[in-house]
Symmetry: C2
Subunit: 518 residues, 2 copies
C-alpha cells in the first residue's frame, strides 16, 4: 500500500501501543485526521481547547504508564497546550505530542499562522523532532514513542510531509530500560539509614506507588528513618492498606519544620526540596544547613522501586511495611466550609478511586487527613504549578481507567482555565465526579500577598483576587456542556449529591459553595 | 519616596499614558498588584484566563491606538496567553506585555513553575527585555512603552527586582516617529497607477481607516486602479459614508481570481498576499506570475496614510472619494441559516459600532455584503488565525471605547477557547453584544478537509469536527458567568433579541442556532 506520511504516523503509533489520540486539529492536521479513520485501534478524543488535550494526555500517561498521542494545530495550538505540557514535563508523563505545521515550502511566505513551533516546544519537551520526509515518519514516530518513556516527546509534522506519498510504518523501538542503581549505592544508603543520625528518606516519582512505599516503610520501621513524599507527586498511592507517607508542605516554613534537624537527606526519585516561590528574606533551597544530601535514585530514568526494594532487603529483610488502617471521618453536618468539606469526601470515597486534586487552599489543610484511611486510591497532584490542570487530568485518567471512579477536586478559579474538559467528559461518558470548591476568590493569592510581604489590604489589589462580581455558577456552566450538575451548600447536601453522582454513570459536577469560616 | 521596582513600573507606565492593565496575576506579581493600589489612574481589569487578558489587550490597542499593559504569571501564564499574542503580533497592536518571573536567585533551584519565559516570549514579541535591577525598572518600562508602538513589547519582571527598593520612575521616551515615504516612491507609484496596465492597490494596516481609504478611493477613481484590502485587517473602517474596499478572499482560488491578470501590484501597509494554508499542488504565494510587486508603504512603522494622501494629491487632486451609500438589507424571516443571519445584523447594526468578527464560515459569504451600507463601523478581524480571539478582542475594544456599541460575531467552536471573557464583560459592565453562530460543528474543518484533498467521509474523521455530542448551550454558559443570554432559532427572534440586547446596558449573548441550509 502506498501510504502518505500521516498514514505511516497513525499506523506506527498504533503498532507501538498508542491507543488514544487526544486531538484539537486544524487544517494542517487533516490528513492525520483522515488517517485515523483507517486506524480503528486508536481512540480519538476531541477536546475543545488544547489545554484540555495536553492535560488529558498527562492524566492518561500517569495512569496508563504509556503515552497517548496529542494532535495540536501549529504554534498557537501548541501555545494553548503549553501550560499543561509544563505540568506533564514536571510529572515525567509519557506523551507523544504531535504538532502539525505548515508545508515545508509554505513557511518562507510567513503566512498568518506561522510561528516558532520548535522554540515553544523546547520549553516543555524532553525531545523535539521535526519530520522531514514521509519515508521517515514511521521511524520518527517509533523514536517519539521510545522518547516519551522519559517525558514529553514533541513530533512536528509539516503538512506536506503528512500528505505526500512514500510513508513507511516502522516497528516499535526496543524500550530503553530503566537505569539500575549500583550495589555500592544501595550499601552506602543502607549505612546512612543505620547511622543513628536523623535521616529523612524523601520519596518521589515511581517510588510513590504501592511497591515503593512498602519498601520504604520497611526501611523506616527497621531503621527509624523518617519518610516524606515530594510536595506534588504525579501519582501517589494512599489510603487503607497502603503505607502512609506525609508530603512535604507547600509553605516553605512548614517544609523547613518537617526537615528541621535532618543530618542525612536521602533522595529516592525526588529532587532536592525547593520553595515553590521565593519570598523576601527566606531561603530558596529547603535542604537544612545541617543536612548532607545523598541520592539513592534519581528522578529521571532510574528504577526507584528496585532501589528501594533492594535497600529494604538489605536493612529490613524480615520487616513488614506499616499499612494505614481503614478509617473514615464521620460525615459532617452544617454549612460547607474549607474545614469540613474534605471529611465528606473521606467518608464516602469509593474503592480504588483516582483523585485529581486541584483544590489548592481549600484542601491543603484538610484533605490529606480526611482521606488517609479511606479505601486505597491514587492521588494525582499539580506537579508543575500551572493551574487549570485538574479537570483535564481527570479526563485523561478516566479514559485510561474507564472502570475506576475518578474524583476531581477543583478550585473555582483554577476550574475556569480549562473548563471545557467537562464537555469531553460528557462526550465520552466518563465516570468523573467533579467537586468545585467554590470560595468565590483566588484564595491562594490572598495568602501569597501576605507571604511575599506586599503592602496589602488595598481595595484595588484585593479586587484582583475577588470572584464574586459576578459569582460563577458552575451548575449552569456544567449543564451548558452537557454535564449534569447540582449545588451543595451544606455538608449533608454535598454527601447526598456526591453519593448520587457516584451511583450514576457518566460525569457529574457539584458546585460546593464554601462559606467563610467563622 | 523609596519605591520598590513594582512601584516604579506602575508609576512609569501610568506616566507614559498606559491607563489599563489586563491582569491574571500570581504570587510573583503580588508586589505589582499592590502597587496598582497606589496607581488609581490605571484601571486593572481581571481576566480568568490569560488568553482573555492578551486578547483584550489586543482589542484595546487596536481601538485606543496606544498600549494597555498585561500582567501574566510566569511561563505557564505567558503560554496561556501566547495564541492571542500571536494574533496581536500579526495586528501590530501596541501591548506592554508584563510577565512576572521567579526571583533571580531562585531560578537556579529549578522550582516547579520555572520554565523558559524568554524563549516563549520571543515567538510573539517584537521586543523582549528582562529587568535586572529595581533602579532600572522605570527606564525599562518607558522603553517598553516606546517599543510597544511597533507591536508586542514583553517586559519580564523577576519577583526580587519587583520587591526590592531603589525603584526610580522614568519619564516617557520621545515617541519614535513613523517613517515617511520618500517623494521618489510617491512619484514612481503615481506613474504606475497612470500606466494603463491593470494595477491593484492592496491596502493594509493603518491604511484601512477613513483617511487612508478616502485617499485610496480618490486614486482609484482618478486612475482606474483596483482597490483591495488585506484578508484579515486589524481594524477596517467600513459602512455608509466610507469608501468601500473588497477584502482579499480567504480561499486561495478566490484570491487568485481577484488578482487575476494584475500587471502591477502596489502594497500600501499590506504584505505580499499568501495563501492561508498550503494545499497540495496549489501555489503558496498569491502574487500572479503576470504581476510586478511595488511597495508604496511597508506594513511596519511606515506612515501609510501620509503616503496614500500624498499619492492622491499627486494623481487625483480634484477627485472626491467614492463613499458607500447608506443601505440596509431587509430583515429576513424564517429559520436562521448561515445565509440569512448576517442580514439581521446588517438591518440593525447601530451607529459607530465596533464588530469583533470571528464568525468564520458562518459569515464568510454573507457578512460583508450584509453590512456594506450599514452605519459606519470598525471591523476587527482575526489577524493571526489563532481562534479564540473574538470574545477577548471585543472585551478590550469595549474597555477602550465604553461609549460605542461592540458586537461580537463568534463561531461556536472558537467561542469555547476563551469563553470566560464573558465574565470580564459582566464584571466591567461592558456594552458587548455577542452573537454565537451555533452550527454545532467545526465547519471550517469540514471545508478544509475537502480543500486539502484528504480522504474523507469516514465516520471517525467527521466525528472530530462534530459538536453535537453533547450540544453546547451558550445560554446556560453565559448565564453561569453573569451575562444575560437568550436563544434565537429564527431570523425574527434574532432581530428581536439583538435589538433588546443593544437597548440594555451591559453585556448580552444570543445563542443563534443555525439550521443546515436546504
Amino acid at each position: 500500500m502506498n501510504m502518505n506520511g500521516a498514514q505511516a504516523l497513525a499506523r506506527t503509533l498504533a503498532d507501538c501501543g498508542v491507543e488514544v489520540c487526544f486531538a484539537n486539529p486544524g487544517t494542517s492536521e487533516m490528513h492525520f485526521v483522515a488517517a485515523l479513520d483507517e486506524t480503528p485501534q486508536m481512540h480519538a478524543v476531541l477536546g475543545l481547547f488544547e489545554g484540555v488535550v495536553t492535560g488529558a494526555a498527562d492524566g492518561y500517561g500517569r495512569l496508563a504508564g504509556k503515552p497517548a498521542a496529542t494532535l495540536l494545530h501549529l504554534g498557537p495550538g501548541l501555545g494553548n497546550g503549553l501550560a499543561n505540557l509544563h505540568n506533564a514535563r514536571r510529572a515525567h508523563s509519557p506523551i507523544v505530542n504531535v504538532v502539525g505545521d505548515h508545508a515545508t515550502y509554505h513557511k518562507c511566505y510567513d503566512p498568518p499562522l506561522e510561528s516558532d513551533i520548535d522554540g515553544m516546544a523546547r520549553a516543555v519537551s524532553s525531545w523535539v523532532y521535526r519530520c522531514a520526509h514521509p519515508s521517515e515518519v514511521g521511524r520518527d514516530a517509533a523514536e517519539a514513542v521510545a522518547a516519551a518513556s522519559r517525558g514529553v516527546a514533541t513530533l512536528i509534522l509539516p503538512a506536506d510531509v503528512s500528505w505526500s506519498r512514500g510513508g513507511k510504518p516502522a516497528a516499535p523501538n526496543e524500550p530503553v530500560p530503566l537505569e539500575t542503581v549500583s550495589e555500592q549505592t544501595i550499601e552506602s544508603t543502607a549505612a546512612i539509614t543505620r547511622s543513628g543520625q536523623k535521616t529523612v528518606l524523601l520519596l518521589g516519582g515511581t517510588g510513590l506507588g504501592q511497591d515503593g512505599l512498602a519498601a520504604a516503610s520497611r526501611v523506616a520501621r527497621a531503621t527509624g528513618v523518617t519518610l516524606l513524599a515530594e510536595s506534588y507527586p504525579a501519582r501517589l498511592r494512599r489510603g487503607a492498606g497502603v503505607p502512609a507517607v506525609e508530603r512535604l508542605a507547600y509553605r516553605a516554613n512548614d517544609a523547613l519544620a518537617q526537615l528541621g534537624g535532618t543530618a542525612q537527606l536521602v533522595l529516592a526519585g525526588a529532587r532536592p526540596p525547593v520553595a515553590f516561590f521565593a519570598y523576601p528574606d527566606k531561603a530558596s533551597g529547603l535542604v537544612p544547613s545541617s543536612a548532607t544530601v545523598h541520592t539513592l535514585a534519581g528522578n529521571e530514568g532510574t528504577d526507584v522501586v528496585d532501589a528501594l526494594t533492594r535497600l529494604a532487603e538489605m536493612v529490613a529483610a524480615d520487616i513488614e511495611p506499616a499499612l494505614a488502617p481503614a478509617s473514615r471521618p464521620a460525615c459532617p453536618s452544617g454549612p460547607l466550609t474549607a474545614r469540613n468539606w474534605a471529611d465528606v469526601i473521606g467518608a464516602l470515597l469509593p474503592e480504588n478511586s483516582i483523585i485529581s486534586d486541584e483544590s489548592l487552599t481549600s484542601g491543603m489543610a484538610t484533605l490529606p487527613a480526611a482521606t488517609a484511611g479511606a479505601p486505597a486510591h491514587d492521588l494525582l497532584s499539580n506537579t508543575g504549578g500551572a493551574i487549570g490542570q485538574g479537570l483535564p487530568v481527570a479526563t485523561g485518567a478516566a479514559i485510561a481507567c474507564p472502570d475506576r471512579p475518578v474524583i476531581c477536586l477543583e478550585a473555582d478559579g483554577s476550574a475556569m482555565y480549562t473548563l471545557s474538559a467537562l464537555w469531553t467528559q460528557a462526550r465520552e461518558g466518563l465516570n468523573v465526579t467533579t467537586v468545585v470548591l467554590n470560595n468565590q476568590a483566588y484564595a491562594v493569592l490572598r495568602m501569597e500577598l501576605q507571604l511575599v510581604g506586599a503592602q496589602s489590604g488595598g481595595e484595588r489589589a484585593n479586587d484582583l483576587m475577588d470572584l464574586t462580581r459576578p459569582p460563577l455558577d458552575f451548575v449552569s456552566l456544567a449543564t451548558g456542556m452537557g454535564v449534569p450538575a447540582s449545588r451543595a451548600t451544606t455538608a449533608e447536601e454535598l454527601a447526598e449529591e456526591f453519593e448520587k453522582a457516584l451511583a450514576e454513570p457518566g460525569p457529574h459536577l457539584i458546585d460546593a459553595a464554601l462559606t467563610a469560616q467563622s
